[in-house]
Amino acid sequence: MISESSSFVKGMVLGGLFCVFVTLLGHNKMGHGTKAHHHEHHHIQAPNKEDVSNLSEGERMELSHSIRVYCIILVKPKDLGNWAAVKETWSKHCDKAEFYSSESVKVFDSVVLNTNDMWVMVRNAYKLAYERYKDEYNWFFLAHPTTFAVIENLKYFLLKKDPSQPFYIGHTVKSGELEYVDGDGGIVLSIESLKRLSKIFEDPDKCPEQGGLIWKLSEDKQLAVCLKYTGVLAENAEDSEGKDVFNTKSVGSLIKEAMANHPQQVVEGCCSDMAITFNGLAPNHMHVMMYGVYRLRAYGHNFKDALVFLPPAGSDND
């Protein structure tokens, strides 16, 4: 009897300690979340306000013009509705935007890639973009037609970053040892990264055209693998508060999550004020975003921004 009850007590103590141990372990894992301090997870931040004050109007204009973004939007005929919406909305704010399609479509002009394979589309789009535009643009932004991007916020983010350095930026995901940019949130490459990528495309061992033999990687991961061979690593983009600026979900989805997770701080906790992308938008939502970002505002709140961007010609929804 006594030996049983003392065994029971010993068991209880052991069970309790085990529980505490597991809890603390779990807490630690969750506590870090997006602000991981693990040195292999790369973060990159937007410029500070102090970095960018004290510039004259002329200097601001010059600085704004020095960041030139070329946009690649990969489309297929089934995406026609979104293709049209992207054409009519945010892509007008790229320095140049081109649609790279799997096959030719009567209604719209595009760069025809003649393949349905997503990885081959990505490869060829980057190859063509580099060949044609390596001297004209210093940043290359790849997106899907379900993504909405605010190019001005992208340019602000890139303000202090040297494009002759190898940058590969977006919303990153870790898969085992590989950290890659999730294409749903958009992918940003500096001209240097694109240059290195073009070279490694010629190496069929390190960067094969047909993905893996047995195991086909998603095109996002495949891109990361190829870039890694050239010494280019993915970096997760965040604002000065640590919030992601490339989002793989729509504002609506993120708001819904915020309503469930932190109902007292929905708007403040949802998303970055300087967000660059949102994903998963239907064509109508793109038009609402266009209005919401470029037009709708509260009167009387003014900002002293380091950059100046003028509305594009021939447009009336921005």
Partner: protein, 359 residues
């Protein structure tokens, strides 16, 4: 027996482990993790509100991170708006709470009007029943209540539904060109059934102090009465009888500011030609991007999720460095209020394109 005893302790030990684990788990859950706020969250946030039961007074004008100007803050003090929101007991948690957490924070004073008093939310009890046929009764009682208790706290008095989203700063810009002594009211103007038209209830409407005085006076002298349950039309007819002018709320480019539907409908919808809307609008309907002013004042049929989304799009997300195409003028009266140099309203609004002004 020795073997049986050994088996017994072995069993007891393992039962002990499980019991220890489970009880520690619940203990930790109870102590370490604070209960997520449930219904207790009904009490208004003291950082945002000063509660003067049942009214909520804004504790301070919300500032945006990184902004440099004080124009919005000055207008907040010079063009004081009391907002009252039409709601009911069954909508408090599902709708009114989200209204309280978003756009009403920008009002100088806000009151939630219900048939039943609720000290926690808080709401005013109007002593009516609930239902569509009660809307005008609630409206009459609400304005009488506001007139009796809050007349000196504001210059303008806004009515909205619990599915209306309002941008108060844009309403202040609109109203800055008028004075509270003018007998005028603004909203989304409809034309039928009243000579000067009337304002859509769902899109929200705002009365000047003088307009409010006349509305209450109308009921006192029985010039106005509960003529129908169609709240917005009946109110409009009373306004007409009392000599209150139905104002033009369009912006300097002629675009509507109060909207009876959500932004998606106005921006992308194609209203069928047989839709009642075509015959109701006082001003010509514009579909597509020019439907709506950049300085929109209201949208209707806004779900709770859309409330937060619109608050985020209006007050938070913006395109860095972007020079807006629409550069609204600072009207004369507003300039006087703010002691600034007036930029008079051009015949058409100035719209910016690549550095050159076009109309």
């Amino acid at each position: 027996m020795a073997l049986g005893g050994f088996k017994g302790s072995w069993l007891a030990f393992h039962v002990g482990i499980v019991t220890g684990f489970i009880s520690t788990f619940y203990l930790l859950n109870g102590l370490l993790w604070p209960r997520p706020p449930g219904l207790e969250s009904q009490t208004p946030d003291p950082d945002v509100w000063v509660v003067q039961h049942p009214a909520l007074l804004s504790a301070g004008h919300p500032h945006l991170s990184g902004e440099v100007s004080t124009t919005a803050a000055e207008l907040y003090n010079k063009v004081r708006i009391l907002c009252w929101v039409m709601t009911g007991p069954s909508n408090l948690e599902t709708k009114a709470r989200h209204v309280q957490a978003t756009w009403t924070r920008h009002c100088n004073v806000v009151l939630f009007m219900s048939s039943v008093r609720d000290d926690g939310f808080p709401t005013v009890g109007l002593d009516t029943k609930e239902g569509r046929d009660q809307l005008y009764w609630k409206t009459i009682r609400a304005f009488q209540y506001v007139h009796r208790h809050h007349l000196e706290q504001a210059d303008w008095f806004l009515k909205a539904d619990d599915d209306t989203f309002v941008v108060l700063d844009n309403l202040r810009w609109l109203l800055a060109n008028h004075t509270p002594e003018e007998p005028v009211y603004f909203g989304k103007r409809f034309k039928p059934f009243a000579k000067q038209g009337y304002m859509s209830g769902g899109a929200g409407y705002v009365l000047s102090k003088e307009a409010l005085r006349r509305f209450v006076e109308g009921f006192r002298t029985q010039v106005c009465a509960h003529t129908s349950s169609v709240e917005d039309l009946a109110l409009g007819q009373c306004m007409e009888k009392m000599g209150v002018r139905a104002g033009d709320s369009r912006d300097a480019a002629g675009r509507e500011t109060f909207h009876p539907f959500g932004p998606e409908s106005h921006l992308t919808g194609k209203f069928s030609k047989s839709f009642w809307y075509w015959n109701y609008c006082y001003y010509p309907i514009v579909e597509g991007p020019q439907c709506c002013s950049d300085l929109a004042v209201s949208f209707h049929y806004v779900s709770p999720e859309l409330m937060y989304t619109l608050e985020f799009l209006t007050y938070h997300l913006r395109a860095y460095g972007y020079r807006y195409r629409y550069q609204p003028p600072l009207p004369e009266n507003a300039a006087r209020l703010l002691q600034r140099q007036a930029r008079p309203k051009a015949a058409n609004a100035t719209l910016l394109v690549q550095g050159t002004k076009t109309l």
